[in-house]
Chain length 333, copies 2
């Protein structure tokens, strides 16, 4: 690759002048400018962004780290972030950590994070200790469904409120035996599953109902096939239910398939509510009633926090929980 020096030599000026031309700085005579641009063209010169970053101390790039790109929720999140950043002229790259419980940071080391001007880190499998170890001098905003170290900005979905809304809606529409698919019976779970299960319990309590603990169904990986098998097995085992709160839309899709296979009709026999409002959910048959997690707000708020850190402002740490919204479709009556 040709360098500034090569262009300088070819056009008979100094590297500094070439740099000035290439960066459109003023105070360059029209004649030299043309000469330099001709050389740039001829040699096919391209700035070396690595060198520029080293010199500038900034890369001009923001990173979004997600567990997996093939999980629609994260794909949609990534696109939403890109859509906000692109018009602002900021460059985004997506890092995929692989959601390894053993440590996202091995895949995405602190050193690598340091390359970016700012990082939105969607933490799923990460240990608290690892998160706590994150340098707070790197502009960083955490996106994740559990409470994080107090010294880092965080934006969280309205997990509890969403689960409560979803379950209350099922109760209101007449369901009385409402399974939670992807829930947990572990009361110490403070993560996404724990919070959504707590919302399911809270809605029951508010209605004066006591949920049957057998209605807490296991799928732990939020996979469609797993959820489908779980609901089929439960129905086959004689578990009676007339409603399902699925902890994610992906799980809900599996649940709908499983209920269908079991000969149960939605919503006549079993009503279903999901969580995430994936793009596909609107186009299922029937359309999936779900919780809109307001990814738009998550994105705008987390970028606000990030820009604040990036500008060096020494503001208070914020831990935000976004509002959510129930979207009613055909899977509930």
């Amino acid at each position: 690759m040709p360098t500034l020096k090569d262009v300088a030599k070819a056009s008979g000026v100094s590297v500094m002048t070439v740099s000035n031309v290439v960066n459109g700085r003023p105070r360059v005579s029209e004649a030299t400018r043309r000469r330099v641009l001709a050389a740039v063209d001829e040699l096919g010169y391209q700035v070396n962004l690595t060198a520029r970053s080293l010199r500038a101390g900034r890369s001009g790039t923001i990173a979004l780290s997600i567990p997996r790109a093939d999980h629609p929720y994260f794909g949609e999140l990534a696109a939403a972030v890109a859509d906000v950043l692109q018009p602002r002229g900021r460059h985004l790259v997506i890092e995929q950590t692989g959601a390894s419980r053993e440590g996202e940071l091995s895949a995405l080391s602190q050193a690598r994070l340091q390359m970016y001007d700012g990082v939105l880190l969607s933490v799923v499998g990460m240990q608290d200790a690892e998160i706590a170890r994150l340098q707070s001098d790197l502009p960083l905003v955490l996106l994740g469904e559990k409470t994080m170290p107090a010294h880092l900005d965080q934006v969280m979905l309205g997990n509890l409120e969403g689960a409560r809304l979803a379950t209350a809606h099922l109760i209101e529409r007449g369901a009385r035996r409402i399974a939670i698919v992807g829930g947990t019976v572990d009361p110490t779970d403070s993560g996404m599953v724990g919070m959504r299960t707590a919302g399911w319990r809270a809605a029951h309590a508010a209605a004066g109902l006591v949920p049957d603990e057998r209605l807490v169904l296991p799928p732990e990986h939020f996979e469609m096939a797993e959820a489908r098998a779980a609901i089929r097995a439960a129905v086959a085992a004689g578990l009676e239910l007339d409603g399902v709160f699925a902890v994610t839309d992906q799980v809900a899709i599996g649940v709908m398939a499983g209920l269908h296979e079991s000969g149960l009709r939605i919503p006549q026999d079993v009503q279903v509510v999901g969580f995430d409002d994936l793009a596909v959910s609107e186009h299922l048959c029937p359309g999936l009633t779900t919780i809109d997690p307001r990814v738009d707000l998550v994105v705008s708020e987390s970028l606000r926090l990030l820009e604040r850190r990036m500008s060096g402002e020494d503001a208070e740490v914020e831990h935000l929980v976004m509002p959510v919204r129930l979207v009613v479709r055909g899977s509930t009556r």
Copy 2:
């Protein structure tokens, strides 16, 4: 951030020794190693990967450029690439171009591509001229559904064969009025839509049938809502059909929703086949018969080609078309 120099000063050795320790090179006495590591720990030293890249002339990173992360096909592709690269100890970043027809390269400049050791470029909206201008000295493999410049390696899906298989399957299962949703009547279209439409025509021709041109339905953006509206409108307008080949699974999902809304049953009244075999397609009701584009092969082949370029091998340019596979599910009889 502390630098090698800071650590060197703190531990009373030279920067080179620190570098040697940090990089686990041999020929460092146990005593100094410990002293250095202590200083590294204390100062919280982290390598500056930008500086290392500049020095080494390589970034150790491969980029995958996709139009949008919220399009499930690309999300699944990205995850598949990451899953192959991760175990090999290579680092991947995902760049999102935004599929702007005006030019993917403005979002993702040549200069930026140059930062990576290798690039998988999924081209959609890119102009031929822009693609042709791409330096061939950057290890680059094109992923895209149109024929690209001869000087660049390319991996393409079996568009024609897949569309042919899908349509032939519909014909075999008794469909005679088979719409193509997302097709084109423009015979000069040599892109993905053109090839898949050609496959639809080829299957008809092979069966001695002549398709009604009114069965070519418009949706151009492969969006679910658009496809849903298009099929509804067509049915409402009295178009008779007993089969649909949707150019993508996303389109197929919209089609299924639209047919459902129009009171038509799948597969009894209308059979549907898609293309992409998205993860969700298996869990629709009914399951979607579709073409598996063998993303696994696309990934392994494109990485083979890429690694070859990255190793500096001066091999023949390859233009590969991957085989495809029909996956039969409930949406066809």
